[in-house]
């Protein structure tokens, strides 16, 4: 039983590391001491008493963990932008903007201009999800609107450029492809960055964010294609060697390629957005 107690004390100490840093630093040592003391007191009570105690303690610990992390997430957009929470924005960007891209592309036929309303709708979802994850409930409507305008506007401008201007440029087919992949997400990122600057009434931050997001979102699809085209290539190779399931794999591989491109765009865009926010905050 003493062996078990020593082990459970170690487990408890490890679980304490799951708390937010400030909470751990303030109370971690005391909590560990108390748990240690209380487990030793339960030695005489037998396994039943010890088991009940451990269940009670760990249940309370996980409830408290959830609560501490949840209250920590309650930040307004202003605090989010200037509080050094930039690294978390990456994950939120990946999920929300990735979902936005996927929805827009799913609802719209391929090519430009496609259905503009699909992009406005996708952007609305992206902005809404981002605000929810950042727990920016006060700014939820502005972020949703910003997302909608960024996605719809970015797609509209990209469509105009690719249909009206690009054919007159001697970029060649590779150049056209690169423009098509890079331009729209870059425009979306630019508009998001500018929009945040307007929301925060800070034009300098807005310009920095727009440049950063243009690179982040624009570079995302290229990275996404590089990561996932090999999967499509493998499916093609399987199919060409006469394995019939390869034929079924190809459409799935293409879907994966297209979907992941935008998730990566969201991830990179979010990461660059978060990194820029962190940099702005520490200056």
């Amino acid at each position: 039983m003493k062996l078990f107690i020593r082990w459970i004390q170690r487990v408890y100490a490890r679980c304490l590391r799951l708390y937010p840093v400030h909470f751990r630093e303030a109370f971690g040592e005391e909590m560990e001491d108390i748990f240690r003391q209380r487990t030793l007191e339960k030695l005489d009570g037998g396994w039943k008493v010890l088991g009940r105690f451990c269940l009670h303690e760990f249940f309370g610990l996980f409830i408290s963990l959830f609560r501490e992390h949840w209250t920590k997430k309650e930040v307004t957009m202003k605090r989010l932008v200037f509080s050094g929470q930039g690294s978390k924005v990456s994950g939120w960007g990946a999920l929300s903007f990735g979902a936005a891209f996927i929805l827009s592309e799913s609802l719209s036929p391929p090519g430009y201009p496609g259905k503009l309303e699909a992009y406005f709708l996708g952007g609305l979802l992206g902005g809404f999800l981002f605000a929810l994850m950042a727990d920016s409930r006060k700014e939820i409507k502005w972020l949703a609107l910003l997302g909608s305008l960024a996605f719809g506007g970015g797609h509209a401008v990209a469509a105009w450029f690719l249909n009206e201007i690009a054919p007159h440029l001697s970029t060649g087919s590779i150049g056209m492809l690169l423009v098509a992949i890079f331009l729209e997400p870059a425009l979306v990122g630019t508009l998001i960055g500018l929009g945040i600057g307007i929301l925060e009434k800070d034009w300098r931050t807005g310009i920095r964010l727009s440049v950063a997001c243009a690179l982040g979102f624009g570079g995302g699809p290229m990275v996404g294609y590089l990561m996932t085209v090999p999967i499509w290539g493998i499916a093609q190779a399987i199919n060409s060697h006469g394995y019939t399931f390869g034929g079924h794999l190809i459409p799935w591989a293409m879907t994966l390629v297209n979907a992941s491109v935008y998730v990566v765009a969201g991830m990179m865009g979010g990461a660059i957005l978060g990194k820029t926010i962190q940099t702005v905050d520490t200056e």
Binding site: M31, F35, Q37, E57, S64
Partner: protein
């Protein structure tokens, strides 16, 4: 007695908060001391886990109702531990809650006395 406006909004206190403040009323205590005292005061109804207790302590510290005392108190093993004490605001909050509860009990007793008469 009319409660001051600034004390009305946080009332009623949760049982956990009430008993923590009550436990600290006579003297500062460390976390384990609070835990044992609350268990006794509540006649076994409130058995804090360590996580729950320190979550509550953290919120009370943020609200300014309790404070970490500079001197640490020695526990039964002779080890020095950090202690918590009531602030003036915390003490007034506790008194306001006790008064609120007294009022409730008085109203109930009058009503019951009226029914049995």
């Amino acid at each position: 007695m009319t409660l001051p406006d600034d004390f009305q909004s946080p009332l009623p206190l949760t049982e956990a908060t009430y008993f923590i403040l009550l436990s600290l009323a006579p003297e500062p205590k460390h976390g384990y001391g609070i835990m044992k005292d609350v268990l006794e005061l509540s006649q076994g109804r409130i058995n804090f886990s360590t996580g729950t207790l320190y979550g509550a302590i953290k919120r009370l510290l943020e609200q300014g109702w309790i404070v970490r005392v500079e001197e640490t108190v020695s526990d039964s093993n002779g080890q020095m531990k950090k202690a918590y004490g009531l602030t003036e605001v915390g003490r007034r909050m506790l008194r306001a809650e006790v008064e609120r509860l007294n009022t409730l009990v008085q109203v109930a007793q009058l009503r019951i006395a009226g029914e049995t008469a």
